[in-house]
């Protein structure tokens, strides 16, 4: 979908005497060096402008806690995009999941059944994802439109279910779980870490990941290699929906409430992080580490803005400029990393 110059599309070039270091640099990890540098630059800016208000542990936890909800979405989105698709509905499905989870909370026979809330939310996310996937894979509807339709429909559905009110969750067990922490790290951040780790393994160490990359790289060739491409695409959107369900639980915990407006425009944040993270919008290439770095970059940026009491309009302009610069830095290094091996 992009005007990327195809002739500039980096292919692995042959390593002659590729030392270990070089191998790493040229690998997917190497492509993320540009991002790490961008992140470090931002951290320096934060430290210089706000001193230890920026660097203290609480602030860092604030940043990662905020990052974790869209982070989980972005992990699912990474798979969908690598597989050659896009999912505009995740934010809205998140909202729907949060509404259904809070409705479930009201119905709970006993407070100790609270994990049911989570299961229900995940099921809602999964179901929405499966519907997306079926419409896209078997109905041959272009992903952009199918998930746009789901975006609109899921929001409407959430409004009807919630009667457009925000429901507060008062289920003790759930709140303690979601607001708790383990080894000093908040539950939400743990979830993000676990989802990212699972995503990394799934993408790099399983047949599922391998198929995803193959489909995004050349769908027809993958089909002719004997892989059930349509079914796999359903799985991809199901995964996207599942992460939306997880994020829905997380946001419900974080805000102790469920409402149809939860997650509005989160799809854009997730897509932006994935793309800044070096995943090709056209599919076939991407990394989980890049996505995590992309998410961190955006959230550190927002934190720096708040710390420095910047006018929101100025923030907007700066943010626009920084997105372009981040993509440029990331590209520069992606190209270099590949060329050098």
């Amino acid at each position: 979908m992009s005007h990327q110059n195809p002739s500039a599309a980096p292919l692995h070039t042959p390593g002659r005497a590729a030392g270990t270091l070089r191998a790493v640099l040229g690998s997917a990890a190497g492509r993320n060096i540009g991002l790490v540098i961008a992140l470090i630059l931002l951290i320096i800016v934060g430290t210089v402008t706000s001193g230890d208000r920026f660097t203290n542990v609480n602030n860092i936890l604030t940043i990662v806690r905020l990052a974790s909800v869209t982070g989980v979405l972005a992990i699912g989105m990474t798979f969908v995009i690598i597989g050659g698709g896009i999912d505009l509905s995740v934010g809205s499905v998140l909202g729907l999941a949060s509404v259904v989870a809070t409705l479930a909370a009201v119905q709970l026979a006993s407070e100790s059944f609270w994990p049911l809330m989570i299961i229900v939310a995940l099921a809602v996310g999964l179901a929405a994802g499966v519907i997306n996937g079926i419409i896209i894979a078997y109905g041959n509807v272009v992903a952009f439109m199918a998930t746009l339709a789901m975006l609109i429909a899921a929001r409407g559905f959430a409004e009807i279910l919630s009667n457009r009110t925000t429901q507060t969750v008062r289920v003790r067990g759930f709140l303690e779980f979601s607001d708790g922490s383990f080894l000093g790290i908040p539950t939400l951040v743990w979830i993000f870490i676990l989802v990212s780790a699972a995503g990394w393994i799934l993408l790099n160490r399983t047949t599922f990941g391998r198929r995803t990359v193959a489909i995004g790289g050349n769908r027809e060739a993958t089909r002719l290699a004997g892989i059930n491409v349509k079914r796999h695409i359903v799985y991809l959107y199901a995964l996207g929906g599942l992460t939306a369900g997880i994020a829905g639980v997380m946001l419900t915990g974080r805000t102790t409430s469920g409402t149809s407006t939860h997650g509005t425009l989160y799809e854009l944040d997730a897509i932006a992080a994935v793309v800044v993270g070096g995943t090709l919008l056209a599919g076939g290439r991407g990394t989980i580490v890049g996505t995590v770095l992309g998410i961190l970059i955006f959230n550190v940026l927002t934190n720096i803005f708040t710390q420095n009491n910047l006018n929101t309009s100025v923030q907007a302009i700066t943010k626009g400029a920084i997105i372009v610069i981040a993509v440029l830095i990331q590209q520069r290094f992606a190209a270099r990393g590949v060329r050098e091996t």
Partner: protein
């Protein structure tokens, strides 16, 4: 709740009329106030922000931190967490969603930071030291009552409603108040559309509404900001058989009411100075001062602002505090 007509918030503190209290105005210890509100993507919210900032600027003892306006509850939570981390002296919070920000506000209170809850109410009374609210239900009632007075003698009157963003609780409160008031005089809403608080949205839904309803007796438009678009659509359709009542109370709307040459006959005030009041109250609370003109030695917990109807007769009185959309 205690009703206090409080519409003079942006005037100079030195001569702020009946609430003047020299002791309160005296510069005290410098306090840091954190302020966070929704994205200023709307005239009324823009006015909320600028009034708050202007108010803070008047007091040399206020150091105001303004977080990026956002419509994302999660981001706003992290902003409040930031204020807690920085250990500010008070937080003025206009939540994007009252319920969603309750928990973090409670944490701030627990950390000893008084929270002033503005406009959209938390779901727990422990989450705020002071709650200052506009009266959304009351707004609907005022608008409905006014329309009943004007067209109530016609039992078949066609009443249209142009709501704001439908998924916001405040919109539902307004609509409920409106419906209840109309019910009192035996009327009901026959056509209802919802816009999005933007001028363009107001124009778009109104042009559709007007062609869906060829004859209307009265319209209540929830918001004067989108009202600009509503009026543009009405003008462009050349319709004038009805009266219209606005909402929020923008300067624009009041000037039109004053001039009397449009269908807009009245508007219901929804004060855009709530956050400015919040800043003042935060200062008083943080400096352990009391609200003047009350015998009570502490600032009250809950202040609900009035939702008066402005029409040609009393517009002079309200014009000076109206906001520019």
């Amino acid at each position: 709740g205690l009703l206090v007509g409080c519409t003079s918030g942006t005037t100079d503190p030195a001569d702020s009329g009946p609430t003047n209290n020299a002791e309160n105005e005296e510069t005290g210890d410098t306090i840091v106030i954190g302020f966070s509100g929704p994205a200023a993507d709307h005239g009324w919210l823009g006015a909320i922000n600028s009034a708050a900032i202007a108010e803070a600027a008047k007091y040399p003892d206020i150091d105001l931190r303004v977080a990026e306006g956002t419509n994302d509850a999660s981001l706003q939570i992290s902003q409040v967490e930031g204020f807690i981390n920085d250990n500010v002296d008070a937080i003025v919070l206009l939540p994007t969603d009252g319920a969603a920000l309750t928990d973090v506000a409670t944490k701030a209170m627990e950390a000893g930071i008084p929270v002033i809850n503005v406009d959209r109410e938390f779901s727990s009374t422990f989450a705020a030291r002071v709650t200052i609210l506009g009266d959304n239900y009351g707004m609907g009632v005022s608008a409905g009552t006014y329309i009943c007075e004007q067209v109530g003698d016609n039992p078949d009157a066609i009443i249209a409603e142009i709501a704001g963003i439908d998924s916001l609780p405040l919109t539902q409160d307004r609509s409920r108040g409106f419906a209840d008031a109309l019910d009192d005089c035996g009327l009901e809403v026959s056509n209802r559309v919802a816009a999005d608080f933007t001028v363009a949205g107001g124009e778009a839904v109104t042009s559709q509404l007007l062609s869906a309803a060829p004859q209307i007796d009265a319209i209540w438009n929830h918001d004067d900001d989108q009202g600009l678009g509503v009026l543009a659509a009405i003008d462009s359709a050349g319709r004038d058989e009805f009266i219209m009542v606005g909402g929020a109370g923008s300067k624009n709307a009041m000037e039109l009411i004053q001039s009397g040459d449009s269908v807009l006959e009245a508007t219901v005030i929804y004060p855009s100075t709530q956050a400015a009041d919040g800043i003042r109250l935060a200062r008083l609370v943080a400096q352990d001062k009391a609200l003047s003109d009350l015998v009570e030695v502490e600032v009250p917990n809950r202040i609900v602002l009035n939702a008066p109807v402005v029409d040609a007769d009393n517009v002079e009185k309200y014009l000076p505090t109206a906001f520019t959309s």
